[in-house]
């Protein structure tokens, strides 16, 4: 089997008195590496993979992941350093399946499912079902325009409360 070369997202070394700027550069490299693997492989990298991709130790990567989670940029699986969500992507299957060509991802909600297509900038479709009647629903994006089944979107939680329990939002 031929190994597939992965792009590397090495951090820029930036010096500052308090390390804040360097943390920001580190966190951006880690965030981009997570997002790129979601795009390419529909899964997040494990911390040891991330360490190899960005050229840091696993401890540095896990510290960066915690900062990104604290900043609500990603969500970690509770009690672990494993990425659960890097919006719009979900590491776990959800009721929101996204397809583009022969690729497939999971969105965290209908916003995120459409957000996957916006993120990758490609045509595709979202498949879910009505939570009330169970009828399958399909939306499609072609040439930047949305179409598909007749449907409406419901937000049950006010915006100010979304991060109170992001797993339920």
């Amino acid at each position: 089997m031929t190994a597939v070369a992965r792009p590397r997202y090495r951090r820029r070394i930036v010096t500052s008195d308090d390390g804040t700027t360097q943390d920001a550069a580190t966190d951006d490299a880690v965030r981009l590496a997570v997002m790129r693997m979601f795009v390419d492989e529909a899964r997040p990298p494990a911390p040891n993979e991330l360490a190899s991709i960005v050229g840091m130790t696993q401890a540095e990567v896990e510290a960066s992941l915690r900062r990104l989670a604290d900043a609500h940029v990603i969500v970690l699986a509770p009690g672990t350093p494993l990425v659960w969500m890097a919006n719009p992507f979900s590491a776990l299957p959800t009721p929101f399946e996204v397809r583009s060509g022969d690729r497939r991802w999971w969105g965290n909600c209908i916003w995120d499912a459409l957000g996957v297509l916006a993120t990758i900038g490609s045509d595709g479709e979202v498949r879910t079902s009505c939570p009330d009647c169970g009828e399958p629903l399909r939306l499609e994006v072609r040439d930047g325009e949305i179409g598909g089944d007749t449907a409406v979107v419901h937000y049950s939680t006010p915006a100010a409360q979304w991060w109170d329990d992001i797993g339920s939002t």
């Binding site: 997002m35 209908i110 939570p131 009330d132 449907a151 937000y155 049950s156 915006a159 100010a160």
Partner: protein, 75 residues
Amino acid sequence: MLLFRSEEDIDRWSEMRGTPRGDVMSVEQQWRLARAWFEHRLRPGYRRRTAEEAESVFAAIGLTGPFWSLTPPRG
């Protein structure tokens, strides 16, 4: 954020769960919001929007009022 067949489905679902109905938007609005929110997410240097910036994105799509507010009301 769920996709329903119709507003009647939302009403039945909310009543069955005993939860108040939230806010409803069209699929077209949701697509505009998804594009505005995520289309630059793969660029280096992304940072989370401030509350004010997020509210501006919502407002540009017609999402206003207390449900979409992220900042304390101005006295």
